[in-house]
């Protein structure tokens, strides 16, 4: 009996191992294209950039190892710090505004009104336009003399600012521009709103909750995971803005819109300092990670997951 038992134990593991191996191999084969692509076009370049950040490399000649010199240089570079400040201000203002606006719009578009599909399409359309095309259009929208914004302001007796030509208004102009591309967040919010259990609203009505109470105590808590998602995604995107300042302002006037990635680009391709540019991107990466972790840490306080018990 013992021998038979041993024979069974020997036979079964061998069949499982072969099957497991085959399944594992099939799985790896399926993901292999993605893995190759990731290594070749993402992971590899990231690692290369990290190594290059410790070199003095002007692209056209071989890199020269300089250790931490690029990182030390950053501490004495007022433009790098100024660019980080501009980028942080843009992120701190635009991301919450985008999130709030997308949430409010989703609330409005979640009602069974006539033509709601058309309204949703209209609000989503700007998202699918190429950023470069949008930038060119917005240059005209923000034209001090011929732009529609200043024209509308003139109708109410207000003289519009110089927008992109003004050191005070250039950054707010780009923030304003960012609010028109919230289509993605809008769709996610709509999906989230439609996933809120109806019985929660029914219970709230039974308890005599007003419209405001319903949304404050039911909708908002149920939507916090989606808001968290948008905050994180929005933060990562905002910290990497490049196309708009590159096409619209070139960082001016007087570095008022000198975003961090634009400064990286200048160092890499105009100043022949790819090593320093790589170091700057390394710092940006750490900055993104730090801010993301801060948001995720704060989520323990304000994000509610259905079924979660909070003490």
């Amino acid at each position: 009996m013992a021998v038979m038992g041993l024979q069974r134990e020997r036979g079964v593991p061998r069949r499982t191992s072969r099957m497991t191996l085959r399944e594992n191999a099939a799985g790896w084969l399926f993901v292999l294209p993605w893995v190759i692509g990731f290594v070749a076009f993402t992971g590899g370049p990231i690692l290369t950039a990290f190594v290059v950040s410790f070199t003095d490399w002007d692209i056209v000649n071989a890199p020269r190892w300089v250790g931490l010199a690029n990182y030390r240089r950053m501490l004495d570079d007022p433009q790098a710090l100024a660019a980080l400040k501009v980028t942080t201000i843009y992120t701190a203002v635009s991301v919450p505004l985008q999130t709030a606006l997308a949430f409010v719009l989703a609330l409005l578009l979640n009602n069974p009104i006539r033509g709601v599909g058309i309204y949703r399409t209209i609000f989503y359309l700007p998202t699918i336009l190429p950023v470069a095309a949008v930038a060119v259009i917005w240059r005209w929208v923000l034209s001090p003399q011929y732009g529609i914004f200043n024209y509308l302001l003139s109708l109410i007796g207000v003289e519009g600012p110089a927008w992109l030509a003004s050191t005070s208004w250039a950054l707010p102009a780009l923030i304003l521009m960012s609010l028109f591309q919230i289509g993605g967040a809008l769709i996610i919010n709509l999906a989230g709103l439609q996933g809120v259990p109806a019985d929660l609203y029914e219970a709230a009505v039974v308890d005599g909750a007003s419209w405001w109470r319903k949304h404050w105590n039911v909708t908002l808590p149920m939507m916090t995971p989606y808001i968290l998602f948008q905050l994180v995604i929005g933060l990562v995107a905002a910290l990497q803005v490049f196309v708009q300042p590159y096409l619209m302002t070139q960082g001016g006037p007087q570095d008022a819109t000198l975003f961090f990635l634009l400064y990286v680009y200048r160092n890499a391709f105009e100043f022949f300092s790819m090593g320093y540019a790589s170091a700057l991107t390394g710092v940006l990466f750490l900055y993104v990670v730090l801010l993301t972790l801060l948001i995720l840490r704060s989520a323990r306080v304000w994000v509610y997951y259905e079924g979660q018990q909070k003490g």
């Binding site: 056209v60 000649n61 923000l142 022949f272």
Partner: protein, 433 residues
């Protein structure tokens, strides 16, 4: 009944197909071309057309060399530089290429390009037909690093109709800063709300005013910035006053809507400083126009000239043949073939500017010969300069431009601008590269 394809038949057919595809895929080597060289330039619809006769003529006259025109894209903008750098890093840069004004020293310092003194000597190529101002921009460390394919100083385009309406004499060599400002003021008109309907003049490049005041950007050794010196500050003051004090030149707000070219074409700008290439657009003007030399400043008459640098890649495997292509592109014949059909560019050779195809060029409603001769006179008289030659010029230029922005916005005085610019540039000049 189907007959199955046998294994041998399959191998025969497959092998034959593979050989056939290989033969079809190979570019047939022309019997005459033994060496292939390429020329890189930003390209574009108009530019690509303009180069065709040049390359056709070169290939016909050089049966042992096949020259190819390679548009790298990106326009005359930083994107072109990025494309070029990628090619250089990848080891497949064009043998000869155009590089932005002000970058020759940087490329030379980094051994991307080679000096051509030996090739010039071996070919017996005379350099004295080139305008000295153009050729000077290629001198670095006592060597010549390229040849100019074209280049145009900035002259003063003016709307003759607006001058006639205002009863003001056209600009000429007697103009100094005082007369220039008086004319600009008289040609500026405003609406009831005080907004300028028509402005008297374009800003002109800040460096023109600095030079005209007797100032300099860098000292002759290129080791110190001199924008903080009194002559330079005087030039910066005049530049700023045109915009901020007298308000006869476009503000940042005006330029956010239109370029000076566009304002001139729209009849909103009576004068502006531009290179001869501006004729590409100005020829479409529906009013008579012409060009004149830049005004005389307190120090001298001086304006900046563009240059079309043509350089030889250090990694080219066929440098001798590549130099032949460079010679032809920059030769009188090569420049004529490219420039004559449109007339927009300005030749870099003195002999070319005496040819009838240049002196007799007319376009649109050009009212006189200034569109040809003003530019020639400036360069012949030595009233032109290029940007300073320095390997870190892109960083220097960016640092100065930031201060100039503040000057035109009225946020800094000319003294502050000059001193801050000098401080920033001197920090760059002393920092390790």
């Amino acid at each position: 009944m189907h007959q199955r394809l046998g294994r041998r038949d399959f191998v025969r057919i497959g092998g034959g197909a593979a050989v056939g595809a290989a033969l079809l895929g190979t570019t047939p080597r022309t019997s005459r071309a033994q060496v292939t060289v390429s020329y890189g330039s930003p390209g574009g619809v108009d530019e690509d057309e303009a180069w065709k006769p040049v390359f056709a003529a070169f290939n016909e006259s050089h049966p042992d060399i096949e020259a190819r025109y390679v548009p790298l894209g990106g326009g005359y903008a930083p994107q072109y530089l990025q494309n070029l750098q990628a090619r250089i890093a990848g080891g497949n840069a064009p043998d000869v290429f155009f590089v932005m004004d002000g970058l020759v020293a940087g490329f030379a310092e980094r051994n991307v390009i080679v000096p051509i003194d030996d090739y010039v000597q071996a070919a017996g190529e005379p350099l004295d037909d080139f305008f000295a101002a153009h050729l000077e921009s290629f001198r670095y460390k006592d060597q010549v690093w390229g040849l100019p394919r074209d280049g145009a100083p900035m002259a003063l385009f003016y709307n003759a109709a607006l001058f006639d309406e205002a009863g003001i004499a056209y600009p000429d060599q007697t103009w100094d800063w005082t007369i220039f400002l008086e004319a600009a003021t008289a040609l500026t008109t405003r609406d009831a709300g005080g907004r300028a309907v028509q402005l008297g003049t374009g800003r002109g490049e800040w460096v023109n005013w600095v030079w005209q005041a007797g100032g300099e950007v860098l000292d002759p050794s290129g080791s110190t910035c001199q924008l903080g010196e009194p002559p330079a500050i005087e030039g910066l003051r005049f530049a700023r006053d045109l915009v901020v004090e007298h308000q006869v030149a476009p503000s940042a707000e005006d330029l956010a809507d239109q370029t000076e070219n566009d304002m001139f074409l729209a009849g909103r700008l009576a004068m502006f400083f531009g290179a001869r290439g501006a004729l590409g657009a100005i020829c479409k003007a529906d009013f008579p126009f012409d060009a004149a030399v830049a005004p005389q400043g307190p120090g001298r008459r001086m304006t900046r000239t563009n240059v079309g640098p043509t350089v030889l890649w250090s990694g080219s495997p066929n440098q001798e043949a590549a130099f032949e292509l460079m010679r032809f592109i920059c030769s009188a014949e090569g420049q004529r073939l490219k420039i004559e059909p449109t007339g927009f560019a300005f030749p870099s050779r003195m002999s070319s500017t005496n040819e009838e195809w240049f002196t007799g060029f007319q376009c649109g409603q050009s009212a006189g010969t200034g569109i040809n001769l003003a530019f020639r006179e400036e360069i012949e008289q030595g009233w032109v300069r290029t940007w300073p030659t320095h390997p870190r010029w892109p960083e220097i230029s960016t640092a100065i431009t930031e201060e100039i922005d503040a000057l035109y916005q009225g946020n800094k005085t000319p003294e502050q601008t000059g001193q801050d610019a000098a401080r920033k540039v001197n920090e760059l000049l002393t920092a390790p590269a």
